[in-house]
């Protein structure tokens, strides 16, 4: 699927050039990318707010834009804005009524969601008086009002304080644990890394890497890092001869980079005779940030 907005001076298309995604049920799927990479465009395509220039897509087997699948989805926008004459309860009642929800179970659902996002105590305040963080919380609640099978979220923790962000991430995990699917767009890689099961990296409108978090973060040249303390000049030379590389961490602490676990253990044993202390030994793992920077071709100078 593609959504081309325009062409640059060199005639290259600008927009979402090649999007091909398959999202598995019951996962937190993260779509990450720099600003302008096409994340929000992707969401808008899924929601039928804009139309693809070429290709097609389906949600639950229905073509994009069909109101049928919208019965089963939720959407949490970035920087949300709602009718500000409503309070939290009225707002959820309004959005829930669009799904035909009524009765005591609907009232219970409203209360449950307001408690879930930490807005129950502030339920009587009008939206006009909400802070950015409160808007984000109520946006999440309205996105879950119909108990959706899949929730599309655009930067769900934007504007939240650290505690609020943790709470929202916990809610997202809870949604996944209930067997629902979460489609998450964000450029906050440090937040996405512990949260997502599968990630696609989008750059200049093209999906450049995709895979489970485990696959993406696995270092092909996997190595082991050992941290030592109390090295003399001779034991440092010994470490340098045994390790692939050595890096000084603090005044008397050095990190040795070994090819595998066995060579790291052997080195630790050899150095221990000279009174060197092994503080830590762990396999090196890439961060999502490192994977991302590599995928988008490095940091522009």
């Amino acid at each position: 699927m593609a959504k081309i907005y325009t062409h640059d001076l060199e005639g290259n298309p600008v927009g979402l050039i090649d999007l091909s995604l398959e999202v598995e049920e019951g996962q937190i799927f993260g779509l990450v990318g720099p600003n302008g990479s096409g994340k929000t465009t992707t969401l808008k395509l899924f929601l039928g707010l804009i139309f693809p220039t070429s290709g097609s897509g389906e949600v639950f087997g229905y073509p994009l834009g069909s109101p049928v699948y919208k019965e089963r989805i939720g959407f949490v926008p970035e920087g949300p804005y709602f009718y500000d004459h409503l309070n939290a309860v009225e707002l959820l009642r309004f959005y829930g009524s669009l799904f035909g929800l009524t009765g005591p179970s609907f009232q219970d659902r409203i209360e449950h969601l307001l408690r879930l996002v930490g807005m129950w105590d502030r339920r009587d305040r009008k939206v006009a008086d909400y802070s950015r963080g409160m808007l984000q919380r109520i946006a999440l609640a309205q996105g879950l009002i119909n108990d959706p099978d899949i929730v599309f979220m655009d930067e769900p923790t934007a504007g939240l304080d650290p505690i609020g962000a943790i709470q929202i991430r916990e809610v997202i995990r809870q949604i996944r644990n209930e067997g629902k699917t979460v489609f998450l767009c964000s450029h906050l890689l440090k937040e996405m890394e512990p949260l997502c099961d599968t990630v696609a990296i989008l750059n200049h409108g093209v999906v450049c890497r995709t895979g489970t978090m485990r696959e993406l973060l696995a270092d092909e040249d996997s190595c082991y890092l050992a941290t030592f303390r109390g090295l003399s000049e001779s034991s440092l030379q010994q470490l340098q001869s045994l390790a692939v590389s050595v890096e000084q961490q603090q005044e008397d602490t050095y990190i040795g980079n070994f090819r595998d676990q066995n060579s790291a253990v052997a080195a630790a044993q050899a150095l221990a005779t000279g009174g060197v202390e092994l503080l830590e030994l762990h396999p090196h793992q890439l961060s999502l940030e490192e994977v991302f920077i590599e995928a988008v071709g490095g940091i522009p100078q």
Partner: protein
């Protein structure tokens, strides 16, 4: 129907938060409420002057409210992106557009009703006083309050249908252009629509216009709404009976026009990216 009703209700509530529109309404009510003070300009015809000024004010201020409200209904949703959360729900674009339109119409109805009630209060207080003056000035010039009141109510009803057409035009214009251009376009249509008879005259070969101009005037006459048909003040001032058949005829024309406008609006809005 549920989605249309909910969106219309939300639109109605939102509309009352627009200070600019509230300002127009308050000003309109003040003008209508004090309309009897202008009656000294026509000694002996104070009652007619009162009716003329009052109904004219309802149409004028109603027109301002209809246009400025209509052109903001959809652009505001696009700017604030409230439309995203709505269309992400099982709401079709047609339902969204109709909800906004009917919410706007309900707001205009409430505005016209408030101005109408104000006018009726003034009319009830002043009518008997002016009636005596008119009877003294002109032998046999008597007015039946009920007859007049019924005619005034019909005039206000037609003003509402006129403004409903105008809301439709303003909504369509705001979808086609920006809201500012939409407002200019709506004013243009409204004022040209008031001169439909003049357009017909200009399009006739007897008028001597060149063929191209004649065709243009002819097309404008046929496609533009004939807003002057909603203005029955002349009939009221001449003490003519305003028959229900005339009202039915004008209302039917208004409904047909609204349906056509909304269909065009839907065709454009359905293809529009939000």
């Amino acid at each position: 129907m549920r989605a249309i009703w909910l969106i219309a209700k939300a639109t109605f509530h939102e509309a009352w938060r627009r200070r600019f529109l509230n300002g127009i309404l308050v000003f309109g009510i003040l003008i209508i409420g004090s309309s009897w003070t202008f009656t000294y300009l026509q000694p002996g015809a104070e009652l007619k002057m009162l009716i003329d000024t009052g109904l004219g004010a309802i149409r004028f201020f109603g027109m301002l409210i209809a246009i400025f409200l209509g052109v903001r209904l959809i652009p505001d949703e696009l700017e604030k992106q409230t439309i995203h959360t709505l269309l992400a729900k099982p709401v079709t674009r047609a339902q969204f557009m109709l909800g906004k339109f009917f919410g706007g119409v309900a707001t205009v109805f409430a505005n016209v009703a408030l101005m109408g009630i104000t006018f009726f209060i003034v009319y009830t207080i002043k009518a008997s006083q002016f009636q005596k003056i008119a009877a003294e000035a002109e032998e046999g010039a008597t007015y039946t309050m009920i007859f007049m009141s019924a005619n005034i109510a019909k005039a206000i009803g037609l003003a509402f249908f006129e403004l409903t057409v105008l809301v439709g035009i303003a909504v369509l214009a705001s979808i086609l252009f920006s809201w500012i251009l939409g407002a200019i376009f709506s004013f243009f249509i409204y004022f040209v629509g008031q001169m439909a008879d003049f357009l017909r005259e200009l399009s006739s070969p007897e008028h001597g216009a060149d063929p191209v101009s004649s065709i243009i005037f002819g097309v404008l006459y046929r496609i533009l709404p004939h807003f002057e048909i909603f203005d029955i003040r002349e009939k009221i001032l001449m003490d003519d009976l305003v028959p229900w058949s005339l009202l039915g005829n004008i209302t039917a024309q208004a409904i047909i026009y609204i349906v056509v406008i909304l269909m065009i609006g839907y065709l454009v809005f359905n293809e529009r990216e939000v």
